[in-house]
C-alpha cells in the first residue's frame, strides 16, 4: 500500500471534520476566552473584610460627603454618602475616581529642591530648614511683605492657617485664585457688605434664570446643583438659560435665551429696567437701598429694551416678557457666573444679576438668594506678631487680585518669595505664558503641591502635600450653596508616599523659624490645631462627619448699594482681531481650576470634545465656510496659534468658537497630559477696572484650514 498525498489530505480533512462536528471547537473557544480574562497579572481585588468610612471629597468646591469602601483596610471604592446634607448619596465622576489620585504618576513622592533644571530629592528636615533659612533672610532684610501667597479656596482652617503664617511673617500679600466663591464674595462686598457670601436656593426656587451658569456641568457644588436640577420637574420649577451655546444645561432648560457672548450683564440690566418701569413691586423694594436713584436713572436712560436688543441680540419683546415671567413667578432666582463661574468673569455681570434678584425682592427669601454670613466656626488663638510682622503686614498689598499680581510681577517684580498652595496659576489663569514669566521674576518659590503640575514644575522647593484621602481637614461648603455645612475630611489611608499634611508642614516651618512665628504655631500637629480651633463643633464634627451650621434664609433684607453698578465701566472684551469669538466651554467630564482630571475622567471624554491629540472646537455650520466636520484647522488668537479639530454644531451661535476647558496639560502624566490644548493659553487677560477680575470670557480668533 502506498501512502500518498491524497491519503494525507484525507487524514487531515477527516480530523478537521471530526473535530468540527464534535464540541471541541465551541468549548475551547469559550474556555480560552475565559482563560485570557484570568491571566494571573490581571488585578483581582483581594477578598476580605469590607468596611465603610465616611469622609468629605475636596477635589472641587462641592464638599460632597463620601463613603469609602475598604477591603482589609485598603480603599477600593468611593461612593456618595447617603443622607449627606449636600449631595445626598450622589457623587460626580471626579469624586468616584478619587482613588486614582492616590497613585497618580504625577504625584510628588518626596520633598524636592530645584537644581538647575532638575529636581533633586531632599529629606523633610533639609527641606524645612532650607525654606526657613531663605524666609529668615527675607525677614532680616526688613522686607517681610515681599513674601507672597497664592492659594486656592479661601475657607476652612487651612486657609486661615496660611493667612496666620503670612501675618506672623509680616506680609499682606495673600492672593486667592479666582473661583465662583471669591466672585460671589466680591459681588456681596460691592452690593451688600464685605465678608458675606451669596447662596442660591435653587432647590426651592420655581423659576431659575441662569446667566450661562453650567448648572449640570459643574457650577457651584456640582452634585447638589445636578440634584436640584433633577428635581425641577417634580417641583414644577422652570429653568431659563441665557446662553450662546447649547450646553447640557441649556439643553435641559425649559427655555433658552440666545445672547451675544459678553452681553449678559446688559441683558440683566435690561431686565432690571423693565421691572422698574413696569412693576410697582420693584420700586418699593428699593426703599432703604443706597444710590438707587442714580441706578434707576441710568437704567431708564441706557437700558431701554430697544437698546438692550441692539446690544444683546435678544428681542425687545422677549426682554420684556422674560422680566415679567421672572417677577410673576412665586420664587424666582437669577443665577450669575458663566460656566463654572470661576475664570473669565466680570463683577459688573455678577452685580447686574444680583441687582435683578434685589429688585425682584428675592434677597434672603426661600428659593431666592441668601446674603450669608461667614461660617464663623473657627476660633484661632490670637496671633503673635513682632515689630517686623506689624510693620510688614500693615503695608499695602501689591495688587488687588491674582491677575493684577501676575501683571505686576511680570512688569517689575515685587516679591522675593512666593508660597503656592492648592493652586495651579501656570495652567488655570489666562495667558499662561505671562503667568510663567511672572513666576520667573520671583526668586524663590515654594510649592505645597501634591502633583507635579505646571506650577509645581516652576517651583524651587516642593513640600509635597498628602491628598484628601490621606489627610484630616475641615471642608466648608460654599460655592453658591444656600447653606453652610462643615464636613470633616479624614485620612482613609496612611500617606502612600513621603508626603505631609500641609498644615503640619506649615507648623514645622513656623517652628523652624523660631521666635514669634514659632510662638503663634505652638501646636504639636495640625490635628491638635484643628481640634482646638473647631472647639465648639469638634465633637459633632468628628462623630457625625459634618455639622450643618446654617440652612435657613438669613433674617431680614440686606441693604443693596447700587453705587458700583450705576458707574460700572463696560470693558472692551473680547480683545484682538478675527471673525470669530473664541470662548472656553466648561464640561462636566473635564476638571477645571487646580483640580486635574483623573485618567478615568479623561477616558470618558467623548471624541466630539477630544479627538486623538486634538481639542475639538464647536462652530456653527453657517460660519464654517470651507471647513468640514473633523477637519484639522489652525486657530489663531492674539496670544497664540494652535491646531484643533472642527466639530460642526448647530447648537452654538454663529461666529462663536467653543473650546473645551481642562485639556492641554503639559506635565508628566501620560493619561492626562498631552491631550488637546489649554484654552487659557489662547486668551489674554482683560482686567476689569473696579474689581481687578480677569473678565476675559473670550478673545477674537481666526480659523483656517491646516
Amino acid at each position: 500500500m502506498k501512502i500518498d498525498r491524497r491519503s494525507f489530505l484525507g487524514l487531515g480533512l477527516g480530523a478537521a471534520a471530526g473535530i468540527a462536528l464534535s464540541p471541541v471547537g465551541v468549548k475551547l473557544t469559550d474556555d480560552s476566552s475565559i482563560w485570557t480574562q484570568n491571566w494571573p497579572w490581571t488585578p483581582v481585588p483581594e477578598d476580605g473584610e469590607i468596611t465603610y468610612d465616611r469622609s468629605v471629597c475636596s477635589l472641587c468646591p462641592g464638599a460632597c460627603g463620601i463613603s469609602v469602601r475598604k477591603i482589609n483596610g485598603r480603599p477600593v471604592k468611593i461612593e456618595g454618602l447617603d443622607d449627606h446634607p449636600i449631595n445626598n448619596g450622589g457623587a460626580c465622576l471626579h469624586g468616584i475616581a478619587g482613588l486614582q489620585y492616590l497613585y497618580d504618576p504625577a504625584r510628588i513622592k518626596t520633598p524636592l529642591k530645584k537644581n538647575g533644571n532638575k529636581f533633586e530629592k531632599i529629606s523633610w528636615d533639609e527641606a524645612i530648614s532650607l525654606v526657613a533659612g531663605k524666609l529668615g533672610e527675607i525677614r532680616e532684610s526688613g522686607t517681610p511683605e515681599s513674601l507672597g501667597l497664592i492659594s486656592g479656596a479661601d475657607n476652612g482652617s487651612m486657609a486661615q492657617l496660611f493667612r496666620r503664617f503670612m501675618d506672623a511673617f509680616g506680609s499682606p500679600n495673600t492672593y486667592t485664585m479666582p473661583s465662583l466663591e471669591s466672585n460671589l464674595a466680591l459681588t456681596a462686598a460691592a452690593l451688600h457688605s464685605a465678608d458675606r457670601s451669596l447662596g442660591f436656593d435653587i432647590d426651592h426656587s420655581d423659576f431659575i434664570l441662569s446667566f450661562g451658569a453650567a448648572i449640570i456641568e459643574g457650577w457651584g457644588s456640582p452634585v447638589a446643583c445636578i440634584q436640584a436640577n433633577a428635581s425641577r420637574h417634580e417641583r414644577k420649577a422652570k429653568l431659563v438659560q441665557v446662553d450662546y451655546r447649547l450646553s447640557n444645561t441649556a439643553n435641559a432648560a425649559d427655555k433658552i435665551i440666545a445672547v451675544k457672548p459678553g452681553t449678559e450683564a446688559d441683558l440683566a440690566l435690561g431686565l432690571c429696567a423693565v421691572l422698574l418701569a413696569k412693576t410697582k413691586i420693584a420700586k418699593d423694594s428699593l426703599s432703604g437701598d443706597v444710590n438707587k436713584l442714580a441706578f434707576s436713572a441710568m437704567l431708564e436712560k441706557e437700558y431701554t429694551s430697544d437698546k438692550v436688543e441692539a446690544i444683546t441680540g435678544v428681542k425687545a419683546a422677549d426682554v420684556e416678557a422674560l422680566a415679567m415671567a421672572f417677577i410673576k413667578a412665586k420664587a424666582p432666582v437669577a443665577v450669575p457666573g458663566k460656566g463654572r463661574g470661576d475664570v473669565g468673569q466680570s463683577l459688573r455681570e455678577f452685580a447686574a444679576v444680583q441687582a435683578l434678584n434685589a429688585l425682584a425682592g428675592r434677597l434672603n427669601k426661600e428659593g431666592g438668594v441668601f446674603v450669608m454670613w461667614p461660617a464663623g466656626y473657627l476660633k484661632f488663638p490670637e496671633n503673635v506678631m513682632d515689630d517686623t510682622a506689624e510693620q510688614g503686614a500693615g503695608k499695602a498689598k501689591l495688587a488687588g487680585s491674582v491677575t493684577e499680581l501676575v501683571d505686576k510681577l511680570e512688569k517689575d517684580g515685587g516679591l522675593s518669595a512666593l508660597f503656592i498652595y492648592n493652586a495651579n496659576p501656570c495652567y488655570a489663569l489666562n495667558n499662561t505664558e505671562k503667568v510663567k514669566a511672572a513666576m520667573d521674576k520671583v526668586g524663590f518659590k515654594v510649592s505645597f503641591s501634591s502633583f507635579m503640575d505646571e506650577t509645581a514644575l516652576k517651583s524651587d522647593v516642593i513640600l509635597p502635600a498628602s491628598i484628601f484621602l490621606e489627610r484630616l481637614e475641615d471642608v466648608v461648603s460654599g460655592a453658591g450653596l444656600a447653606k453652610t455645612v462643615v464636613g470633616l475630611c479624614r485620612p482613609m489611608v496612611k500617606p502612600v508616599f513621603d508626603t505631609k499634611h500641609p498644615g503640619d508642614t506649615l507648623i514645622l516651618l513656623a517652628q523652624a523659624m523660631g521666635d514669634s512665628i514659632a510662638e503663634g504655631f505652638s501646636w504639636d500637629s495640625y490635628e491638635a490645631c484643628l481640634e482646638e480651633v473647631t472647639g465648639d463643633i469638634w465633637d459633632t464634627l468628628s462623630d457625625d462627619g459634618y455639622v450643618v451650621i446654617d440652612d435657613k434664609p438669613p433674617v431680614g433684607t440686606p441693604v443693596t448699594d447700587f453705587t458700583f453698578l450705576s458707574s460700572a465701566p463696560k470693558i472692551d472684551v473680547p480683545m484682538g482681531e478675527g471673525d470669530f469669538t473664541l470662548v472656553p466651554v466648561d464640561k462636566m467630564r473635564l476638571a477645571g481650576g487646580s483640580m486635574i482630571s483623573s485618567p478615568f475622567a479623561v477616558k470618558t471624554v467623548s471624541d466630539t470634545v477630544l479627538s486623538g491629540k486634538y481639542s475639538v472646537v464647536e462652530i456653527n455650520p453657517a460660519t464654517a465656510g470651507a471647513l468640514k466636520d473633523g477637519d484639522v484647522a489652525v486657530l489663531k488668537t492674539a496670544m497664540g496659534t494652535v491646531k484643533v479639530k472642527i466639530g460642526l454644531n448647530e447648537g452654538i451661535m454663529a461666529g462663536v468658537i467653543g473650546m473645551p476647558r481642562g485639556l492641554g496639560h503639559t506635565f508628566n502624566n501620560p493619561y492626562v497630559a498631552g491631550k488637546g490644548v489649554n484654552v487659557n493659553d489662547l486668551i489674554g487677560p482683560v482686567i476689569e477696572p473696579g474689581s481687578g477680575l480677569d473678565a476675559a470670557f473670550g478673545i477674537k480668533a481666526t480659523l483656517s484650514k491646516a
Binding site: G10, L13, G14, A15, A17, V24, W35
Partner: protein, 223 residues
C-alpha cells in the same frame, strides 16, 4: 507548439475526462484517501465527544461527603444554613460557626464523614474548604437578595434539586479556566434541559428576558 499546448489540444474533454483516463493506480489512491478520511474523522469525532470532556475537567473530591437531604429533613428548610445577612450578603457556604450551632466536636452520627468533620474541622476550629460548584468569576456581581426576596425565586430554579441529594458529587474543575463544570453545564455542547443545568451569562439573560422583558444592562451584573 509547447508541451502544454499539445496537452491542451489533445485533451479537449477537460478535467473530468482527464480523471477517467488516469488508470487504476489513481483510483486506489482515492480509495485510501477516503479510508484515511473516515478513520481520522471517527477518531477525532469520538475523542471530541468522549475523551475531550474527560481531559478538560479534573475531578476533585469534597473534603468529606455532605448529605443535604438529611440536613433538610432535620432542619426543615434551606434558609437556616443558607441565609441572607443583614447587609444583604448571602451565606452561600455557611461558615463553621453556623454548623456549630448544632454540631460539636463529638460526632453526631455514625458516619465516617461526620467523624472527619468533627475531628478535623470542628475540634480544630478550621473552616471546611468546600469546593463551590456555583462559584462565578470575580467580574460577576450577583445578589441573592434581589432574586430570593425581591424576585421571590426558588433555590431550585438555579441550583436544581440540591436539597434532595444525599452525597456530594465530585467537583469537576475546568483545567483551562479553573471554573466549576456546573457553570458551563454537564452537556458538553452546553445544551440544557432544565433551568439549573447551566449558569452562564446567557442563562441569566434568558431568564431576565422572560421575567422582566429585558435582558438587563451590563452594569447590573458587572459592577
Amino acid at each position: 507548439m509547447s508541451e502544454l499546448e499539445n496537452k491542451a489540444n489533445d485533451d479537449p474533454g477537460g478535467g473530468a475526462h482527464h480523471g477517467i483516463n488516469n488508470g487504476p493506480e489513481d483510483d486506489k489512491g482515492l480509495g485510501l484517501g477516503v479510508i484515511f478520511f473516515m478513520g481520522a474523522f471517527l477518531v477525532c469525532f469520538l475523542s471530541g465527544w468522549l475523551l475531550f470532556p474527560k481531559l478538560l475537567y479534573s475531578k476533585k473530591e469534597q473534603p468529606f461527603n455532605f448529605d443535604h437531604s438529611l440536613h433538610v429533613e432535620e432542619i426543615g428548610d434551606c434558609e437556616t444554613c443558607h441565609f441572607l445577612r443583614e447587609d444583604g450578603t448571602f451565606s452561600g457556604i455557611p461558615g463553621l460557626e453556623s454548623c456549630m450551632e448544632c454540631h460539636t466536636d463529638e460526632p453526631m452520627g455514625e458516619t465516617d464523614d461526620e467523624a472527619v468533620f468533627a475531628e478535623e474541622y470542628v475540634a480544630q476550629g478550621k473552616e471546611v474548604p468546600w469546593l463551590i460548584y456555583a462559584k462565578q468569576p470575580d467580574c460577576v456581581y450577583f445578589s441573592h437578595a434581589a432574586h430570593i426576596v425581591a424576585g421571590g425565586m426558588d433555590c431550585k430554579t438555579c441550583h436544581g434539586h440540591i436539597g434532595e441529594t444525599s452525597s456530594s458529587r465530585p467537583y469537576e474543575e475546568n483545567r483551562i479556566t479553573g471554573y466549576s463544570r456546573d457553570i458551563w453545564g454537564k452537556n458538553i455542547w452546553g445544551i440544557k434541559k432544565n433551568s439549573w443545568d447551566r449558569m452562564k451569562m446567557d442563562d441569566c439573560a434568558d431568564c431576565h428576558l422572560e421575567e422582566m422583558g429585558h435582558k438587563g444592562y451590563c452594569f447590573q451584573c458587572h459592577k
